[in-house]
Amino acid sequence: MELLKDTHFDFLGRQRLFIGASLLLTVAGIASLIIKGGPRFGIDFLGGAVMDVQWTGTAPVADIRAELTSQLPDVSVVGAHDISGSNEMFISTRVEKQSDLDSVRQTIEDALARTGGAYSVRSFEAIGPQIGSDLRKQAVLATASASAGMLAYLAWRFRWIYGVAAVVAVIHDTLITVGLFSLANKEISLTVVAALLTLIGYSMNDTIVVFDRIRENRRRMVHEPLRKVVNLSINQTLSRTALSSGLTLLTALSLLCFGGLVLHGFSFALVTGIIVGTYSSIFVASPILVAWERWAGGAR
């Protein structure tokens, strides 16, 4: 079976449309981030506590919320029903002072005991405010330095503009995904950061496959304009791009459906990231190459 054989789409011809779409999504994401005062970080990054409680029967979400809101800051109590039909409840709260960290578990458990019912605590996590801000810094530092490393490698293997284009595409993907998280009001937790790293990996991979083909074709077609070479390269790699991304998307979707609550944020980021990442290697990274060439050529 072969799909997308010998295609001749003019990807760069419609680049304005696609760049417009990218800009729209990016701007919407950034706007949401600005309005909401930055991404909604999970307690791993802010300092706080989260408890996962499983109930037999319906979880008394409203009762617990009423009980705790007066005692703890920024309480959120969310009931969650997954496919397997268990009744779980996530209780989270901010911890602003290191000294409150010692008592927060007891406060929550007391409220649970007063409400009554058959429940069991499945997990509990409490993170001091200091370690939260450390983690945030570390996550940003790690991602930024990894991107710089990739840029340097690509600049060395290809040309520096290839590295820049690939990293811009990756930043574009990360921004859109984080923006979508903000629009959907979902929390950025440590696992979501792992998913962001994963999607950076995917997006980079996609971009490099196209760039590799561009480099190869340029050697054969020295006298053709770059625009034509790029278009041909995208078309040549199109069936692999579609198939690879489709299959990975399939895996990510199965993770979203069957992966359970713990992996939900992770899978959500992965699904959006794969879609955006595939798109960006064709419609963001490659046009940057052509635009740069044209600008540099015109400047000379």
Partner: protein, 453 residues
């Protein structure tokens, strides 16, 4: 032909070695399962357990001695959790600040008790009581004309910060007669009906000092102070040489924990818990079950799609994917790497890139076939052309992993390590193993061979 045989043998040997590493040689039908559990180390988020991150308060310690103090604290904490009889527990340095420690305990039921035992400094001191009890610290001062006599200190019977009403204060002489570090051993003994007591024995040098002191102070009161709080105020009834008792524990558990902490020694600096994490084993098991189910569903979909799209070559890719899984597990087991949820993210990315490698190669072979090459020529050209691309994608990812490992949190490091291992095994399976499989397909046909791709 001969070369092909050799390559096949090499692959079989690698696979056999990996299987041996993962499940060992199963002596009984169920032994492979136990071996698997022993060889693949799961993180606390998957197997359940408690972890704490403690910060050693080194603010008052001179810079030069800080790492010493942290290391001493680590040893004391290790002795404490070992004394609790928790096997497989560990205390290790954590983070980049140099004053944080990670304590990991598998399968613990009562995190609050462990937390208390870990964070308590356990400074035990034995003072001579001058006067008391007083109802409050102010009253004690008032009795002495507003200031405490030189060389004396006040201690409450209530912990600091607790309700100030109802406690009593005692005035004691400044220097402690014995300290926790003078102890040789401490045990709990329960004498029938009464509350449990912690008995201790003293080191030789301290015993001599203690004997002199008790002889001189017969009939007088002493104060046993633990972490700034008076536990009991016994009257010295007899000359004590090398052992004594501490009363005042409210439960058997408290007495036991005190004995443990006295045995393991006082902490050289105060510590505070800055992160606590408890995961019930059942939740970990759920995560594993969900993860496995998702991976199985995803893989099944991928395999079906590959078989439909590439026919026999799809089977080839499935073989490469399966071997990649085996190799990855074996490598994780040999490195002693711990599989955590973020690590599983690394595995997911690996699977994605493994499928992509196969697709990349297959598409290239198809192109070469379309360009009119023979089957053998298309395979050779397809692999060599795709290999260049694969090297670039893989090396780029390894470069980014290196930085993630350098600057990342432990969770991110787990991701990076699994990913790098997966990339290396992927190059082996999707380039080498897959090529050998194609060569077999060719060698079984007479020229001109055709490919099912």
């Amino acid at each position: 032909m001969n070369r092909l045989r050799k390559q096949t043998l090499l692959i079989l040997a690698v696979v056999a070695a990996c299987l041996l590493g993962i499940v060992g040689v199963p002596a009984t039908p169920t032994a492979w399962r136990d071996n698997f559990r022993r060889n693949i180390h799961l993180g606390l988020d998957l197997r359940g357990g408690v972890s704490f991150i403690l910060r050693v308060k080194t603010e008052d310690v001179p810079n030069a001695r800080q790492s010493d103090v942290v290391e001493q604290t680590r040893r004391v904490l290790e002795r404490r959790i070992n004394a609790f009889g928790l096997s497989e527990s560990q205390v290790q340095a954590y983070g980049s600040r140099g004053n944080e420690l990670l304590v990991q305990l598998p399968d613990v039921r009562d995190p609050a008790r462990i937390r208390q035992a870990l964070a308590s400094p356990t400074v035990l001191e034995w003072y001579r009581v001058e006067s008391g009890p007083y109802a409050s610290a102010n009253e004690a001062k008032a009795q002495h004309g507003g200031i405490l006599p030189w060389g004396t200190r006040l201690f409450p019977t209530q912990p600091a910060g607790a309700d100030k009403e109802g406690g009593a204060w005692y005035l004691v002489t400044g220097a402690p007669v014995i300290r926790g570090s003078d102890l040789r051993d401490a045990r709990v003994s329960s004498n029938g009906m009464s509350l449990p007591v912690t008995t201790f024995s003293l080191s030789q040098e301290a015993a001599a000092r203690f004997e002199t002191y008790t002889r001189a102070n017969l009939g007088k009161r002493a104060a046993i102070v633990l972490d700034g709080r008076i536990l009991s105020v016994p009257v010295i009834e007899d000359v004590i040489r090398d052992s004594g008792q501490i009363r005042g524990a409210r439960s058997l558990e408290e007495a036991q924990d005190l004995a443990v902490n006295l045995r393991s020694g006082a902490l050289p600096a105060a510590v505070e818990v800055i992160q606590e994490r408890t995961v019930e084993p059942s939740l970990g098991a759920d995560s594993i079950r969900h993860g496995t189910r998702a991976a199985a569903a995803g893989l099944a979909a991928v395999v079906v799609a590959m078989l439909v799209y590439y026919r026999w070559a799809g089977a080839n890719a499935t073989l490469a994917l399966a071997l990649n899984g085996v190799l990855l597990l074996a490598a994780l087991s040999w490195c002693g790497a711990v599989l955590t949820l973020p690590g599983i993210a690394g595995v997911v990315l690996t699977i994605g890139m493994a499928v992509d490698s196969n697709v990349l190669i297959f598409e290239r072979i198809r192109e070469e076939l379309r360009a009119g090459k023979t089957a053998a020529g298309a395979i050779a050209a397809g692999f060599s052309r795709a290999f260049g691309t694969l090297v670039d994608t893989h090396v780029t990812t390894v470069v980014s992993c290196a930085f993630l490992f350098l600057f990342g949190t432990p969770a991110v490091r787990g991701f990076a390590v699994t990913l790098v291992i997966g990339l290396v095994t992927n190059l082996f399976t999707s380039v080498f193993v897959s090529r050998v499989a194609f060569d077999w397909e060719l060698s079984r046909q007479r020229a001109p061979a055709t490919l099912s791709i």
